[in-house]
Symmetry: D3
Subunit: 291 residues, 6 copies
């Protein structure tokens, strides 16, 4: 169960309304690397997690990310103060004032006010948040890697947002949020390493014939090798040829005799036109083996 | 520039058409962890990458993922052979046959045939592929972490798909694809470690006051500590209170005197109703500092 | 700031795993009338609300909806126990068992396990949650009406879900969740009526010529009148004709002389082909007034 | 069956082309509160409505909203005249002229012309219209509340758009459209009140233990009570504790003995590794009751 | 302006409720080739069309497609009669009955009833309709080609739906709808040919060096040539090599001297670390020409 | 299998970085008419195509479109050079410089850098690419028409992009890409005509009563006739009335006697309230025939 404290996790002091900047801040409110995505990523993992320690970790951080969502949303709200107030007024004599503030009439931040009244769950380009941003897959060592990567990306977006403003209050709050991504990333790293072995993920082993092979499929000048394809552990295939399994590289349906009979019966029952036979169940395409 | 060889990277031998199974395989054709997502993730990173070695790596693997997209699409195509053939016929006497194959008439795999003719770029639930699945952010150490995580997730989905069928040809091809995700994951790990330091990502350092703090925000029985919040490097806050910066936890706009004057003029010009004053530009919310 | 208590707001006792039922329950986890939509609707309104009383109301209910999201997610998780466990195993000898549980291999609930590992933020048809479900507009009397309607819809979906199962534990928890929607709806009704006048919303009055007019645009047998178009307050237009303003019903650009001159200059500068003159800036369409 | 009259329901007189303003007007063409959303909302309800009176009402208003879609689309078309004309030209010597009109080359309205040729079904931020905007649920008293709220929101958006321009022709047509939302809202209010009782929606009564309870889940300074949680009808819970049902607040699967036996057999048949027992069907999570 | 006649364009006689079939019919209600897509495609083109004849054609067919949307929606509504009625009931004693009708509890058609109450604007897989389906581009000869193709696709989907049922009333209505797509396709063909020349679309001619060239980029056994790459008009490039323009196939920024100076100044002002010079404005990538 | 050559199909020489122009170029990278849409359209058709000649054609062109995706992405990357470099820096002293470059702080191109690091798969308005853009239907003569139309639209978008810049290198590369669309369109035209007959698509003939009928559903002044509804082949219906089949224009369920009995039994078993009888399976709506 969640409980809410009316005070923010971090105090927000905005220097002056700035709807254009508010719009950019939406990137971390309703954007792919933003706080709702983070909170929901850890919350859905926490719900399905069977290990009590990791469940606790996930719920701690999910709850903090919800608190961050509130912080960034409050920044957006403060930066939008003027625009929202005047937009909500709807009194005719203000129209001139309003237009003077918004310039030529098509600034992108107007949409976010039109659309959602101040703090819509969209990114800085107005795209509504979608759960397609969440990549939870339900396997702890894979999900922890996803979490590490997600925190890394969020850190970068905060860094870019900090570079976009010199309002000291906004920068201060953003720096707190950025720092917390670093701390979370560390926690997830530790939790991943606490599971041993953690590679490869899951239970099925790879096929040893293809596990240490590197296919050099982008060719030409400017090729550089590095630890990712060089050294005793790698088999480097300079000019890969299909099919690597040694087969003919075709796709086919190879019916067992029993099934083939059934398909022929079926075809016979429904069509007599030999020309179109290939499109029935007996049609096995250009690589078909049924002949 | 890309060139295509008509043979597949791996030979596909499907035992018998099975539209229900085809539908599930779409998860790796047009799903979030599928081969198009992988190919486009590395291709967009490769285009923007300035380091020649990593650019080569990204283009090698992007090209291989396109080749995998072709392999999984060919599996889908073979498994759909019967359904597609009959659907395409459109001759009235086959209606009874068709309906007998599809059961009660609402099997989910019918949609994928109706919708896209065999191999649509959708997941196994029919959701069209979206670039929202791609989390490229344009910073190499963040992107490499995203790639490692993406390969980990894809490995898990292949493992689950393998468990859903006992068609030996399908399992064989899926196992190849799964193994390659393991190999790619290794390459990305090596490439990440070749960049030193690689943590934290980006250039801005965190705020040392909050970088090693753990906020225990999910409380109650069943709390377990672990390396993610225990040990000399962590400051564990048992019962976090707002605001962690020591402020009042409010959000406010703190206008400089000059700006405040302008807002008051603006308010004065447009409204005389003192009750609604709070909604003009001078209204700074419940935590406003302008008084 | 949010704090989480590890115990649920309502105890969840599921009688037996049932992945098909889990799938249907997702409608209130990640569906349009579900608990994430509710929580985010009130949370975004609360962030932007200037009135302290309504802000408190919105944050109270937003926090409760997050707690409901946890309850419904926990129901989904429990109903998925078997499926998730086996899916996560990935050991070959279980494949037969797994397939026997999932029937023909294309049951729709498999996608939700493939996709998100148990409790993905999707509706019962697998559609990822989108902020397009949230209709916050930033004007209190409009938003309160939206909230009343949203609670009404959520109540109906819970009612339908209750009808889909006879698991007493699931029904009991669903009934709690349904009841709370009724209570919230009442609170929002009271809050709306506390604002007077609350109709029409906003500041701009309607045009008295069209405010009480009813246009009978769907015609033919079976027309029935009722309080929505009958009585002294309504002007009922039996057979509406364009244009209701008395004009010619055309769309035109009516340039002032000064602008017209500029357009002609522009046209003259760029084209001499009289045939295509109509497509330049001077071309005012079939209803154009520039002649 | 629909029939179209070439004249508009309301005459559109645009003062001068203005692609930036056209872009903002798209909010009511292809945006969430726009006319297509309105038309489709009432049309889909009308199709499924069994009551002849309400069906007539819904079809009357759906048809009018389609006519409004045509009016707002015609405004967009007229405002785009210049831009579309020049864009369509595609002659090289005009490039300089075009670029001089569009400023730095990245004005957001260019996208809407690139994308859809003048009147695309997108909102003012370029987001394609989606049926996710429609919240029809198929229960008349819930749907009528949704309709009332939708009209309220649309009224507000028109008010904001009116404030963004001083073109008298555009303002005049927008004011007509805004006024009609007021009239529709009244009709839907009357239709809702004609159904008695209309609260709560549906057939299942709430649980009396929780129907008049208010959980004060957002806590701290600044709490204000009002008719939404104060008065004899409300039970106000100052500091809500889980679980409100008096249970332990855990989620569990509570197998009947018969089912438990089956699960154990299943587990026994497939695994002997005691370490992973918790992940089989017998694993009931941290709150499991199976012991 | 639109007017609605309560009678359908074509009489709908459904033999018996069948929610599974209803679900499939949604493909032409809210699917990509369905009637809303068709209506909106022609309606948006009609709004922006300057030629009076084509505008009339587009509005005639748009209006008919809206009438078809009503016909297919009415088929869906009739097929859903039983399910919707019982779902709407919400009385506890019916639960058993309901469950007996819906089988195992996860039939895909339940979602469409849960979600939208009978006739939601989704495809047969539950995907909400999106304006991304509409490919209007605002150039008549391109748009007419798009319309011809759209009618061709819709014809095929109707054909497939006809094959899925033997309810004579449903087949009869579907056949009418399918036939009308054929008629519309003919009209659009005629309208395209009435514009001469109509190829290539637009005004800019192609580059004669590349207009009749065919690049054989998919190579290997099984290549077949045909009129699409064979004959005097085609130049067939057997083994295409980059770069076809004769250049080096690199991407570069080639600053003029004046700009180069500005970039160097900028770099000098902000960084002294020569290692990272390549990431400033002066860094021109692997193919950079600035050296 | 795909192989990649590090050189581009066409050399890209950009005159100077220009992030605003980069943003517009995204229309053909991740937009609906862009190169990914083209590549995936032909690739998915090629996978499912049984005819070896057309399969070859589709794979040749799909591979070329992937190569074009690389060309347009390289243009975007070069135009973004400066912005990306500075954004990635994240060093505080550059903030002022950065802000001076980006103007007021809300230029739309910033989002694409924030979001995806340079070359995200979005259109020029920031909308993520979706497979909903692909209209492959799995019937060759329909799909070839779709391909012809898609090439026509892409040609137009390139033409518009060429008009937006006077950078000679960008124009040169865009002109190559535009020209190739013309060549592809020709190939698809030839391939369509090689199939005879190719109209109507599919196997089911139309209903001769409605195949040559034109319904004049948009009425009023300004009607113009043309080859699309005039001439001996057309039956022109001046004022169409429902229902064109001669029926009553109602939608009904017409149960056979046997089924009616079953429905009545079902109704009897579950309800005794005669008022709600109409909502059970026996309720046939306003046009019901069951009486």
């Amino acid at each position: 169960m969640f409980v809410h404290n009316k005070r923010l996790q971090y105090t927000v002091r905005v220097g002056a309304p700035n709807p254009g900047l508010a719009n950019l801040m939406l990137e971390q409110f309703g954007g792919p690397q933003g706080e709702l995505a983070a909170a929901m990523r850890y919350f859905t993992q926490g719900l399905a997690e069977d290990d009590a320690g990791r469940k606790d970790l996930l719920m701690d951080i999910a709850t903090e990310e919800l608190s961050h969502l509130e912080v960034i949303g409050s920044i957006v709200g403060m930066l939008n103060k003027g625009a929202k107030g005047q937009m909500a007024e709807g009194v005719e004599q203000e129209a001139e004032l309003y237009r003077s503030l918004t310039g030529a009439g098509n600034d992108s931040h107007i949409t976010s006010v039109l659309y959602g009244g101040g703090t819509p769950l969209v990114n800085s380009g107005g795209i509504p948040w979608t759960a397609a941003y969440i990549d939870t897959i339900g396997e702890p060592t894979a999900d922890l890697r996803s979490n590490i990567a997600a925190e890394a990306r969020a850190k970068i977006v905060y860094e870019r947002l900090i570079n976009l403003t010199d309002d000291p209050g906004v920068r201060d709050a953003l720096k707190f949020l950025m720092t917390r991504e670093i701390a979370h990333q560390k926690s997830f790293e530790k939790a991943l390493h606490a599971i041993q072995p953690n590679f490869p993920q899951g239970k099925l082993p790879g096929d040893p014939r293809f596990e240490n092979t590197y296919f050099n499929l982008s060719q030409g000048e400017g090729e550089l090798r590095g630890p990712w394809n060089q050294g005793p552990e790698w088999e480097f295939i300079e000019d890969p040829q299909p099919a690597v399994d040694g087969g003919d590289g075709h796709a086919s349906v190879q019916l067992k005799e029993r099934d083939m009979k059934a398909v022929q019966d079926m075809a016979g029952r429904t069509r007599s036109d030999p020309q179109v036979d290939p499109k029935t169940g007996a049609d096995l395409g250009s690589g078909g083996a049924l002949h």
